[in-house]
């Protein structure tokens, strides 16, 4: 890029957009699909934060959740299965001026794209990652995913899946350089929005696992949690989220959790009987890969030429024999 990095960031006019300005098309998701709740929360975030649609990119892989960018009137990249994170990393390194979001599912992120997931946490590039975890492959019509609970009956596991479910939060919290991990459920919109908002404001890779219902292929799997508010464990802390009085009156299972406490976060992440909702871990001090790697010198013609000539000088044989 030949322009100054700051030129991209110049915003002379405060822009405000209505919710409709972020909406595009009619989602093809099933009615009752948790993806709709995530879309609503994210569109609200864009409006509330005044994100410029042309400066915002949603990157996804393949799966039901990865349809997400098509429903945002921003820039979007609906790529290939499992590779949303490396695509988003490329966007981020190339363009510090963009808001980068990633939508990925449990198959996309935790199975075919698992290598990228681990390394994305380690790179800690500034982007917000939503793991739409419905514990089943939806687009390909009901196959067990790595996060399916053991015993899940699916088209590939007709007698029930045989392996214990992978815990995405535990995995994420086990990776070096993890800087932001949160969890929300699609059926508590207020908390979902608060978590999404906190994730957006973190500089670094924010990993948000959203427990998401799939009414089509795993319709009853979350019922025990849905019907028993005590099994939602609200994580409250001044450094994290402070749930409102309204939410707290319904969800009374509330604990104090300091999101800077990594060991405690790891303990909470392993909890499968209750779903911790809120911010599990937050460390704003972890450096971002793009800040470590990107040059701060503007790439002018003179700069590039000087660099190239200096290299050529080292390998040039001059007429007359002097080297």
């Amino acid at each position: 890029m030949n322009m100054l990095a700051t030129e991209c960031l110049l915003q002379l006019v405060e822009e405000r957009h209505a919710l409709e300005d972020y909406q595009s098309g009619v989602p093809r998701w099933c009615s009752g699909c948790g993806d709709n709740a995530i879309l609503a929360a994210v569109q609200r975030l864009c409006r509330d934060e005044g994100l410029r649609p042309e400066k915002t990119v949603f990157v996804s892989g393949i799966g039901c959740s990865s349809r997400f960018p098509h429903y945002m009137r921003t820039y979007g990249f609906h790529g290939i299965h499992g590779r949303a994170l490396p695509v988003a990393e490329g966007v981020r390194l190339a363009r510090p001026d963009l808001n980068v979001f990633v939508n990925t599912g449990d198959g996309d992120c935790c199975s075919i794209g698992a290598a990228h997931w681990i390394h994305a946490i380690r790179y800690n590039m500034n982007m917000t990652v939503f793991l739409h975890d419905n514990q089943i492959y939806g687009l390909t019509k009901m196959q067990a995913s790595p996060t399916s609970p053991r015993g899940t009956k699916s088209n590939t596991t007709p007698r029930g899946s045989t392996l214990e479910a992978l815990q995405p939060l535990s995995v994420t919290l086990g990776v070096q350089n993890v800087s932001f991990v949160a969890q929300a459920v699609d059926w508590i919109p207020e908390l979902l929005f608060e978590v999404v908002k906190a994730a957006y404001h973190h500089k670094g890779l924010s990993f948000v696992r959203i427990v998401q219902r799939c009414p089509e292929w795993l319709p009853k799997v979350w019922d025990p949690w849905l019907h028993d508010p005590q099994r939602i464990q609200l994580l409250a802390h001044p450094k994290g989220l402070m749930p409102s009085a309204g939410v707290s009156s319904v969800y009374r299972n509330r604990i104090e959790h300091d999101p800077s406490n990594l060991n405690r976060a790891r303990e909470l992440a392993g909890n499968v009987d209750e779903i911790p909702v809120g911010i599990l871990y937050h460390d704003p001090s972890v450096p971002c890969y793009e800040d470590l790697r990107r040059s701060t010198t503007p790439r002018t013609r003179e700069y590039i030429q000087a660099g190239l000539e200096a290299e050529l000088d080292k390998v040039t044989v001059w007429p007359g024999g002097a080297s």
Partner: protein, 506 residues
Amino acid sequence: MWRQHSDATIAKAYAETHEKLVAAGFRVIEIPMERECKALVADAKRGKNMFALGMLCNLYSLDLQLAREQIALTFGKKDASVVAQNVKLLEAGHAWAEANLDFQYRIPAERATEPMVVVNGNTALALGVLASGMEICAMYPITPATSASHYLSDVFEKVGGVVHQAEDEIAACAFAIGASYAGKCTVTITSGPGYSLKQEAIGLAVMSEIPLVVVNVQRGGPSTGQPTKVEQGDALAAIFGSHGDAPKVVMAASTIEDCFYSMITARKIAETFNMVVVVLTDASLATSQQPFPRPAFSETWIAPPIDQSAVPAGMKPYDWDVATGLARRFIPGQPGGMHTVTGLAHDRDSHVAYDPEINEETLHFRSLKLAAFQKTLKTPAVFGDPNGGDLLVIGWGSTQGAIEEAVQSLRDEGAKVSSLHLRFLQPLAGGLRQILKKFRKVMTIEGNWCDRMEDEIIDESNRRYSALAMLLRARTLVDVDCWSEVKGQPIKPGTIRRVLAAKLAE
């Protein structure tokens, strides 16, 4: 000395070899290198190379002082005694040759008339990336491509570039696509197995029409094959790879100089046509050196600034031109251009296409782009006689020097043989059929497998041709024969000469 080696079999083998050489009429000079070195160092194994270097300096009348300086440079970081020790060995070798050899050669250095750059192909490639205006290289370590990324890692930052070592080949390609999508055409550098892994992502770039430069420093295949050896086995994978119809431009560098300029050309093609450009080099180009005129920097090499202008109302993200298939690309940050690119079949609005007509229509446009690009290609020049002759030999990639040397030596003897070297494998330049038709026989010389007609069960109905021969046969309807050698070593001019002579005699 070997003659007195404690292992009787070694001593015997030495004596026998010596006798054989003498019997064959050779003058054999026995050099007591070990004994001479032991006078200077305790372990002769650690000194013989310098002794030999000193001898060679004497033999070829080379300036001993330059060798001393080179030793000081090479071992400069080590103890001063190491330098002194090596210089002593060098001088001893020189002195021994002076005292004991009665012959000496002088090969005059060819004086450069202009500044010449001396690098290997991978360094030339990396310098080309520097010069191309590309700013990001995403890669994963693989032999023999990696040394290009090593060099680039060292120098790219000096021009504000970044080498991203991704977690795997797929990620490297996806990362490059992401950066290219965001406006900075990016290169990913790999070799055979890595190229296979990138195929799905390459298809994504083709489908979404995102510019991308992929370098494949070919090595022996399939599978892990011969990681350090030369082969030209990936041409068809480069052209036809990725499922479905995925048209892309495939270039092949034929010289070290070509490695440099190919990168500049590749980015320009990629960005002009919103296409994937694959640049093929190979293990031979990667590691060999060849001087070429120092490139004079040109402003036109640098990438233009990222277009952040507002998109005029009514414009669509894929407004394909019906004649050329070209469409202007919208880059994130451009107001009014918001859309979601997708690897799914899509219409002009980049909406997922459910209309049965649209898939075929878009295949059509993506294919037209290749034709539009082909219209910009010059017909390659014939080496030898463009008016025709008995045999035309066609090659691509690193074999150019060897083929032309063989052709020239046969022409010097009056043979009516000429050659043609192709820089673009996909699309092939126009005018090839007309050239081929002027020759009585046409064949390719390639470093990839073709079935040998001398095999009992091989005949015209089942013979697998070499890559370029297959392409040329399909493209020109000329009966192009092929000869190939896939031994992991560069094909020698002498070998090619024999093959061509035999073909002429057929």
